[in-house]
């Protein structure tokens, strides 16, 4: 159906079917009316004149007969003449009847014809004999003829009467026929109307169903299928499809595109869920909207626990104020890149992360949420701490090494200079360590060194620094002392602590230590000199017989 290219044409097709039926019904009614009109016109133009003329000609004939009779009975010639004069009128009227009857009713036509002829024959004789009888003043003179004429006229009278009645009956018959015809036509029209109503209803229903409802139902089925996640078949494409087909095609196209989008979204979801970094999407009110698998495994948490809870629950920073301003900034649209922060796991463990975040906006510019990316750096940090430890601490004893010691020494020097207080530097060297090492092995030596370190730390304050600067050489930095005796007290405690025997691998050993002490003074501005002084004092103590302490210069005592 190439004509039914769009819905408008289809609706017009339905309307046209209805209009066509209406037109046919109107034509049928018009035809019926016309038939009725023809019939009524026939009655008006033929039947009525025939009937009235029939009656009239009969009454004229009667009047003529009466005139003849009067003339004959009274002997008045004038009556007979008047009767003769009526002939013209009667003859004319009979001619008219003949003509009218010839136009239609064949059955009555011969009757009228013969009536006319009979009358004319009768009149020829009547006009003659009656006049003669009157003129002779003796009706009985031509008895036979007059009698014959009388019979003839009686027959004619009956004929006239008959014809007039027939003509009247004809009107009644024609009117009756007309009524019957009207009844028949009315019935036929009813049947026709009902048939057309049925036909029109069927055709319109069929058209509407085929062209509008079925295609729409197909679209609906496609939508239902799609909403239930089934595959939507491509709609059959017919030539010159209408809007509904266009709709179906567009919908199918849309489902295809949506499938592509869904596929890409799945792809992106896959990437997000499989990425090693944590990705958390926040709502504008800083509650968690969604989190990827990496986040869940990082925090040992479940999706249900996280979703909807506050981000502050899992986010932390060493400085509380930084966290506060960070979130405020995010809401205002500022981005954060590679900030070292902490994520708090379900077990309340702090996990160091490199945190980046940026705001997400809707097309209308309003804040949709915040995406937070966090890279777990706990391993890195551990490695870094290890490196830092190795750089600044002695691996064996865990004491600060020479490097850190000098750092702290300079720090302490600066503080002392600034605040004008004293500090003391001890340089210690173990006595008789080498024989022990040789005797019991390096392992035993190492254990001895660890024990020594522990004992040394036990003798000083938290603010003081004990460090190992060489194989069996240590330093102690007393960050703040009032005078030399403070240093002496500590040195004595150190000597006591080290001098106590200790057991290594089941063997009791005794070690000693020689301590060189250098007290700070304003003129000693170099760490190297301070070290050198203490070192020198230590050698002096060694030289004095070991296991003792010596100040770097006598005036320091």
């Amino acid at each position: 159906m190439h004509i039914l290219r769009n819905i408008r044409s289809k609706i017009w097709a339905c309307v046209s079917v209805a209009l066509l039926s209406y037109l046919i019904a109107t034509l049928a009614t018009t035809w019926v009316n016309n038939e009725t009109k023809v019939s009524i016109t026939h009655i008006q133009k033929i039947d009525l004149p025939l009937s009235s003329k029939g009656l009239l000609v009969h009454s004229l004939f009667n009047a003529q007969s009466e005139d003849y009779e009067n003339g004959l009975l009274t002997g008045e010639k004038g009556d007979v003449l008047r009767a003769n004069m009526r002939h013209d009128q009667i003859a004319l009227m009979l001619e008219e009847l003949v003509q009218l009857a010839s136009a239609s009713h064949n059955d009555i036509y011969p009757r009228i014809l013969s009536l006319r002829d009979d009358y004319n024959d009768y009149f020829i004789m009547a006009s003659h004999y009656y006049l003669e009888a009157v003129q002779k003043a003796d009706i009985f003179a031509a008895r036979k003829e007059v009698h014959q004429l009388g019979k003839l006229r009686a027959g004619l009278d009956a004929d006239f009467q008959n014809v007039a009645e027939m003509l009247q009956a004809m009107i009644v018959t024609d009117l009756g026929d007309n009524n019957q015809r009207i009844d028949l036509y009315t019935r036929l029209l009813h049947i026709l109307f009902v048939l057309f109503l049925l036909l029109t209803t069927i055709v319109i229903n069929w058209l509407a169903n085929k062209e509008i409802i079925a295609p729409l139902a197909n679209v609906k089925k496609m939508i239902n299928d799609f909403s239930r996640g089934r595959t939507v078949d491509k709609p059959p494409r017919s030539q010159g499809g209408d809007e509904i087909q266009a709709l179906a095609s567009s919908f199918w196209q849309m489902t295809r595109e949506l499938q592509h989008i869904t596929v890409s979204r799945d792809y992106v979801d896959n990437i997000i869920n499989n990425m090693s970094d944590s990705l958390v999407i926040l709502n504008p009110d800083l509650t968690i909207q969604t989190a990827n698998h990496a986040t869940l495994s990082l925090l040992h948490s479940s999706e249900e626990d996280l979703e909807g809870s506050s981000f502050r629950k899992i986010f932390s920073h060493k400085e509380e104020s930084v966290a506060d301003s960070l979130f405020q900034g995010l809401i205002e649209g500022k981005a954060v890149t590679n900030l070292e922060a902490l994520y708090i796991s379900a077990e309340d463990d702090a996990i160091p992360v490199l945190f980046s975040a940026s705001a997400l906006y809707l097309p209308d510019g309003s804040l949709q949420g915040i995406s937070c990316l966090a890279h777990d750096i706990s391993e890195l940090k551990e490695q870094r701490d290890q490196l830092e430890f190795l750089a600044n601490f002695d691996k064996l004893t865990g004491l600060p090494n020479r490097n850190l010691f000098f750092d702290r020494l300079i720090l302490t020097m600066n503080e002392a200079r600034r605040y004008g207080h004293l500090f003391a530097l001890f340089y210690l060297d173990l006595d008789h360590f080498k024989p022990l090492n040789d005797k019991y092995g390096h392992e035993a030596g190492d254990l001895a060194l660890q024990e020594v370190a522990k004992r040394m730390q036990g003798t000083v304050r938290d603010t003081d620094t004990v460090s190992r600067v060489g194989g069996d050489e240590f330093t102690i930095l007393l960050s703040r002392v009032h005078n030399a005796s403070d240093a002496m007290k500590v040195a004595t405690k150190v000597l006591d602590a080290i001098g106590k025997p200790f057991v290594i691998h089941g063997n009791q050993c005794v070690l000693g230590v020689s301590i060189g002490i250098c007290l700070s003074s304003p003129d000693l501005t170099s760490a190297d000199i301070l070290m050198k002084n203490a070192d020198t004092a230590m050698y002096a103590a060694k030289a004095q017989g070991r296991n003792r302490f010596m100040f770097s210069s006598p005036d320091q005592m």
């Binding site: 003849y68 009779e69 004959l72 009975l73 009706i139 009985f140 008895r143 036979k144 007059v146 009698h147 014959q148 004429l149 009388g150 019979k151 003839l152 006229r153 009686a154």
Partner: protein, 147 residues
């Protein structure tokens, strides 16, 4: 009831007139009915005579045609007309004219004298006429008028 009495009264009066009339006719009849001598008829009632002259009865009992003739002899015509036809001669004339004109029947022929009647009746087997009693000849047969 009054109306019914009126009708009965009229009927009685009419019967009286009829009986008186016929009695009168027989008592002093100035005419007699004559038929052909060959006619077997014994008598005729006044009504039969009336019907014959009004052309309502045309056949004799033996099947022959009745050929009536009107005698316009002034001495008896009027009497005959009034007595048997119950009409004046003029009324009878108009009756005959009308009958003729309307083709309802052929009125009997007319003659002017008794002799003509006797000749006509003698000449026609079914002939019937009326003549003065003194005019009767053996050529015809007199038929009495009685009920």
């Amino acid at each position: 009831m009054m109306k019914l009495k009126g009708h009965i009264g009229g009927l009685v009066f009419f019967l009286w007139l009829f009986v008186a009339g016929s009695g009168n006719c027989r008592a002093d009849a100035d005419f007699v009915l004559v038929v052909n001598v060959g006619n077997d008829v014994a008598r005729l009632s006044p009504h039969e005579v009336e019907l014959i002259f009004l052309s309502r009865k045309r056949i004799w009992p033996d099947g022959g045609n009745i050929a009536a003739v009107i005698n316009e002899n002034p001495k008896i015509y009027e009497s005959f007309s009034y007595t048997l036809l119950k009409r004046s001669p003029r009324q009878y004339l108009i009756f005959r004219k009308k009958m003729l004109f309307r083709g309802q029947g052929m009125p009997p022929p007319t003659v002017q004298t008794d002799q003509e009647v006797i000749d006509f009746v003698a000449a026609h087997v079914g002939g019937l006429g009326y003549v003065s009693p003194e005019a009767v000849t053996p050529a015809v047969k007199v038929v009495p008028i009685s009920q």
